[in-house]
Symmetry: C2
Subunit: 367 residues, 2 copies
């Protein structure tokens, strides 16, 4: 039985993307690589909805976040980092690693920071350099629905806006240029339906001004080096070429589907999960207005061992979902619904979930 991956990344990768990796290796300083790089770059601008250059890093998404922080943060810089889940906690820790001082903004987990919260904090706090947010919290299943408004607030206050969109770019709305996102980071293994190992980052002119005067606190993630090689359609260091082949294919597939269609598909699939969960009397972790298009976080039903439940789903139905994460590790479980997800995978997953729950004696309070 072939397992289906309904975890929040890595996700199911279509066969032709997998097969793209089997092309012969080429030199990363050759004309063939320049064409590959160019194809990827053009389509990344489309996915990011930006005229800014988008750089490709050989690293996990966490490396992409480190890249943003290392190029922006100098010792003592104060930045607003709303913490509303485990990944925004990581972001805060990364800011601290590089000597930054995170201005914490307390958000109850399950909710999202709002534009007015950010604006209030900006008005109260002096010398804030930027606002760093996680658009889609992979731990709580929450998406910041105010993202465009927060971008507008950042523009108004002349602070940088840095957005981690690792788990939803391509699966939810984001217009980097219109929404004033200065640095936008994503990963290959989520809504782009590619294997893990690459992260991508877009850089605005406003961000470049700061980066040029500051200089990166990293050699590997130095964006000025990436910009210099970008002109030659190359990366400064040897890139993970097979993953570039896969990304080229994945982006081509996305372009054929159309970004908007892909987002709507993600939205529809997530809604089927939300409706099914509610119909079964399962409690969602995220507040309704900020529910994610890509990660469904569900509270563990009372009396049910969800580790056992997941084991049954996997062994009997070939469906892999995830446990909780961070502070809510023991009280939630998560379904990833991203990439090439369709009604078919959603139905199989819901069926597996309902059957596993039933076999463990779960009875909906509603039913």
């Amino acid at each position: 039985m072939k397992e289906i991956l309904m975890i929040p990344g890595p996700t199911n990768v279509p066969d032709h993307i997998i097969k793209a990796m089997a092309k012969p290796l080429i030199s990363h300083r050759s004309a063939a690589f320049h064409t590959l790089y160019d194809n990827i770059s053009t389509n990344l601008k489309y996915v990011f909805q930006t005229e800014n250059d988008v750089f490709i890093l050989t690293s996990s998404g966490t490396g992409g976040v480190e890249c943003a922080v290392a190029n922006i943060i100098s010792k003592g810089d104060r930045v607003i980092v709303p913490v509303h889940g485990d990944f925004s906690l990581r972001l805060k820790d990364t800011v601290k690693k590089f000597g930054g001082i995170p201005v914490e903004l307390i958000v109850k987990w399950g909710n999202a920071p709002t534009a007015s919260m950010i604006e209030e904090t900006l008005e109260k706090e002096a010398d804030v350099k930027g606002v760093f947010v996680v658009y889609n919290e992979t731990s709580t299943g929450v998406t910041i629905r105010d993202l465009a408004k927060i971008g507008e607030v950042c523009r108004k206050h002349s602070v940088l806006f840095v957005v981690d969109t690792i788990s939803n770019l391509g699966g939810d709305y984001l217009n980097v240029d219109e929404w004033n996102v200065d640095l936008c980071i994503t990963g290959s293994q989520k809504c782009l339906a590619c294997p893990p190992g690459l992260s991508m980052i877009s850089v605005s002119n406003k961000a470049w001004k700061m980066i040029k005067t500051k200089g990166a606190n990293s050699y590997y993630f130095d964006l000025l080096k990436f910009k210099q090689y970008h002109k030659k359609k190359e990366t400064p260091y040897t890139p993970a070429i097979p993953l570039f082949y896969a990304l080229e294919e994945g982006l081509q597939m996305l372009k054929l589907e159309g970004l908007k269609n892909r987002i709507i598909r993600h939205e529809k699939c997530a809604n089927v999960f939300y409706e099914a969960a509610e119909a079964s009397g399962l409690e969602l972790y995220a507040a309704k207005p900020v529910r994610s298009n890509t990660v469904i976080t569900i509270k563990n039903p009372q009396g049910i061992n969800t580790n056992k439940m997941r084991k049954i789903m996997r062994e009997k139905f070939g469906v892999l979902i995830s446990g909780g994460m961070g502070a809510i590790k023991e009280s939630t479980f998560r379904i990833g619904s991203m990439g090439i997800v369709s009604k078919k995978e959603v139905k199989i997953t819901i069926n597996a979930l309902e059957n596993a729950l039933l076999s463990l004696g779960y009875r909906s309070e509603k039913g």
Copy 2:
């Protein structure tokens, strides 16, 4: 015509290693991943000749070097970095990026630093924390033949010994434990004959003591996090799973051949290149006693446009070699002889080189 890659990485990857990447994606928090991680770990210890743990980073080799530096160097730390090529220059720059003060040791390019040079410098300079070297300089084709002796000097002086072996681990002798190497870094795309995108680093107990008290100046490359997840046979962040599949296969292949046999094969292939170059009256960049097993750097023959020469080699013979690098970019060219290289590829390359030279009017002064 299928091209053969005779550049200093990425190198030719055998079909079954390429095919290994096509296996279905798995969760990086699953039992299947634990087995994969375990297989790789065991074989990496063999390749590194160490009882230390070896960590796998989703990054280029340069990321591996950054990892070593970020975990060791605190602001103001003085370390000896002999600069004898473009990659040791990078290493020096990385040390500086992290606030370290490189104690420069002047080595004429084409030569290698010696144990007595290092010892003299250690005796002259106060407060030195470590010695950072590039074992095999991919720019000059020079290998530090005194590496074991330098390790002994470092042990005697109680300083850390950090070695970048990116372009020759598996292709030249190195015994991490016997040679007192505290941090040893390599990459996937050189002598291991795997695709690029992973780097590996071993950490000694002596290094751990320092790392534990210092803490990393990086979130992504924090070795303490890697150590913590290593116990679970996992990586802290989503790894490049297809590249792990390839590495598993590549290491299995290396084990079947035997490390010593693989090194001897590299040595023999390099020697055929050296003999052919000398017979053709071509001048080698590296001094004879420190010539590399894996990278052959040749001075451009007078009056020959080696860019044209490389173009002919590629277009007429399907053989790809490299130009020079850094300060010797315009005066040298390079052949990479690594991974699965055999007499066959060596012969094809020499034949292509000689024919291309001939067609450009090259006449050996010897002939």
